[in-house]
């Protein structure tokens, strides 16, 4: 009985912690498949959290807040895309600037709106949707299928994006832009447009991830509450080998690792919790080194295109 409770608590926490990572990482997967690495993801997440919070407060609806959060995340990715894709600037530098800018601007907006010393906001939160039948499965049902709708978005997007990426001609064009942009161009793919749309889509999902943090997970907003999730999501993409299905699994694995450390601490087990936090990163490094399957980044990843002469 006690073990059953602990198991359910563990699974629930894993899903709760994994969902925002999965959302952001799914978007980044599409972005990276097009040959663009957006490490400004963190900026999109925090913008999504604030946009979601402000939207939900203004409209009283958490659902509207999630949508506005997505728009805010996309706007931040738009800045990145304009510079890194439009002007062909270095993607890593631009992404870093966008992250720092996102954290700074959200802080400034929050302080301007809620006072310099802050207000603990109590935001409208997304209701859980209980999936009939599935949520009654013992042990697995309520952790997986009695969740806010953003969780189901992850379940749905995994297979949808997989199909789109590997079974449609648009998906092929996107991958071509990321593997061999010159050849793709010769075949008539509008590489810059594809990359820009991919980056905006990544920003949209990162914004939804941030809004989920504020409106489905914590019910509040605080400066810096994204707390590095954008960077973890980039590691998740690597561990998931740029494959939407595996990316969802990898995100849940990262979620499980941090859920485990909180449970171990709550159950008073005296193990260094940092070890469990480090575990997924060790696996990510192993994936990069080729020890956990073959992880090959898109060939043209992070390379500005067209090359300047």
């Amino acid at each position: 009985m006690f073990e059953a409770l602990a198991w359910v608590a563990f699974l629930e926490a894993s899903v709760r912690l994994g969902v925002p990572l999965a959302l952001a990482a799914l978007g980044e997967t599409i972005t990276e498949r097009s040959g663009v690495i957006n490490i400004g993801l963190e900026g999109s997440i925090i913008a999504g959290a604030l946009g979601g919070a402000l939207g939900a407060l203004a409209t009283g609806s958490a659902g509207t807040g999630i949508l506005l959060g997505g728009v805010a995340g996309m706007a931040v990715a738009g800045v990145f895309a304009a510079l890194a894709i439009g002007l062909g600037t270095d993607q890593i530098i631009t992404g870093t600037a966008v992250t720092l800018g996102g954290l700074g601007v959200t802080g400034a907006v929050y302080q301007a709106r809620f006072g310099v010393t802050g207000t603990a906001l109590s935001l409208p939160t997304l209701d859980r949707w209980s999936v009939p039948v599935l949520s009654d499965i013992p042990m697995l049902g309520s952790p997986l299928f009695d969740q806010p709708p953003t969780t189901y978005l992850v379940y749905a997007l995994g297979p949808i994006l997989w199909y789109w990426l590997f079974r449609t001609s648009w998906g092929l064009e996107l991958r071509a832009a990321g593997e061999a942009p010159d050849a793709a161009r010769a075949a008539g793919v509008r590489v810059l447009k594809v990359r820009a749309v991919a980056a905006l889509f990544g920003g949209l999902l990162a914004g939804v991830a941030g809004a989920h943090l504020a409106l489905a997970h914590t019910g509040t907003f605080a400066e810096n509450m994204s707390a590095g999730r954008g960077f973890i999501a980039i590691a998740v993409v690597v561990l998931g080998r740029w494959h939407p299905g595996w990316v969802v699994v990898a995100a849940m694995f990262f979620g499980a690792a941090s859920a485990l450390q909180f449970l171990l601490q709550a159950f008073g087990l005296d193990v260094p919790y940092q070890l469990f936090l480090a575990l997924p990163y060790v696996l990510t490094l192993a994936a990069l080194a080729g020890w956990v399957g073959r992880a090959t980044a898109p060939a043209a990843l992070a390379l500005p295109w067209p090359r300047r002469r």
């Binding site: 510079l83 600037a97 800018g101 302080q111 603990a120 019910g219 509040t220």
Partner: protein
């Protein structure tokens, strides 16, 4: 092209570092002007530890007509940069609000002998480097008594940021207070590894509530919102749970589920330190503001006071008086090297 990127990066970095505060004093006034600066490594919008420091800076500005500046610095490299900027600019007094500043502060104190640096929770002493050690454990002990008295499950929990002396000190005292009421009470402890991650703090709190804890205290910054939220949701779901605030009066964050707050009146402590600086009394020795000075206090939440057992409140009042009189022993952890505790 590259110029645009560099400009953007520089602008964003500046925005991030200053938090776009707009509170930086012009700092180019006459030489007789009293210039005071505050460094925080997190946002001052945390309604807690950093917010109190910001209030303190404003109080020094208003009461002593000082020119003030605030910077948010994230990394040790930025700590050094900020101290250097203030030192070069002729600042008289810098409040570095956190244990994490002490290494950089020591270097800066050597480099700028005319600038006095006060490090909250610091551990190094020089003529112009003064640790400001809040005896927050005195209020945290009372919070522990409150938790011990209000827990029905016999389990209470603590959610902390990073395991540093200021956090450990409050947690050891909290435990001691809980055990003073009920020696059999179980005290859970979790650290989330940073101070701002609301989601992580909430999960740590949920894990403790699941484990049966029914009173939770925190020692984090903005992440504390996650602890209050977890308790609020547990109560909404029909469970019995209470939260206790820390660092600042947080009784109104979740007024219906909060028992009280272990409060540092940071503004008052800052103002007293600044006044001591003015009279030359802020040199070469740590400051230890505590409940005897009225800087540290456990504030019972007025919104729930009538739901609390009167005999528990009476015990808290008695213990509080004993702590001020020095007749009740509250555990401490050493902050300053070579400092004797108890």
């Amino acid at each position: 092209m590259n110029r645009i990127v560099r400009l953007l990066a520089a602008t964003s970095a500046w925005v991030a570092v200053t938090g776009c505060g707009g509170d930086g004093g012009g700092s180019r006034g006459g030489d007789d002007e009293f210039r005071v600066a505050l460094l925080t490594s997190g946002p001052v919008s945390d309604a807690g530890w950093y917010a109190g420091a910001y209030d303190g800076l404003m109080m020094v500005r208003d009461s002593m007509r000082a020119r003030v500046s605030h910077q948010q610095t994230r990394t040790p490299a930025e700590f050094d940069e900020a101290f250097r900027a203030y030192g070069t600019d002729g600042y008289d007094l810098v409040f570095a609000h956190g244990f994490e500043y002490q290494d950089a502060a020591e270097r800066a104190a050597e480099q700028f002998p005319d600038m006095t640096i006060v490090v909250s929770g610091g551990g190094r002493v020089r003529d112009n480097l003064v640790p400001l050690i809040f005896r927050l454990e005195e209020a945290s002990y009372l919070a522990g008594m409150m938790a011990g008295g209000m827990s029905e499950s016999g389990i209470v929990g603590m959610v902390g940021g990073v395991e540093i002396p200021p956090a450990q000190g409050t947690f050891r005292a909290f435990e001691a207070g809980a055990w003073a009421i009920d020696p059999d009470i179980e005290v859970l402890e979790a650290f989330i590894g940073n101070w701002d991650d609301v989601g992580a703090a909430k999960e740590a709190a949920v894990a403790q509530l699941r484990r049966g804890a029914d009173v939770l205290i925190h020692n984090t910054d903005a992440a504390s919102f996650g602890v209050f939220q977890a308790v609020r949701e547990a109560v909404e779901a029909g469970d019995r749970a209470w939260a206790i605030g820390m660092n600042r009066d947080q009784n109104n964050i979740a007024a219906e589920v909060t028992l009280g707050s272990a409060v540092i009146k940071i503004p008052q402590a800052f103002l007293e330190a600044a006044r001591a600086w003015e009279t030359g009394g802020l040199r070469g020795a740590p400051l230890y503001p505590g409940s005897g000075d009225g800087v540290i206090e456990f504030v019972v939440n007025p919104a729930v006071r009538r739901r609390l057992p009167p005999e528990l409140l009476q015990r808290l009042t008695t213990a509080s008086a004993e702590i001020r009189a020095g007749t009740r022993n509250v555990p401490r952890v050493p902050f300053v090297e070579g400092e004797s505790v108890n």
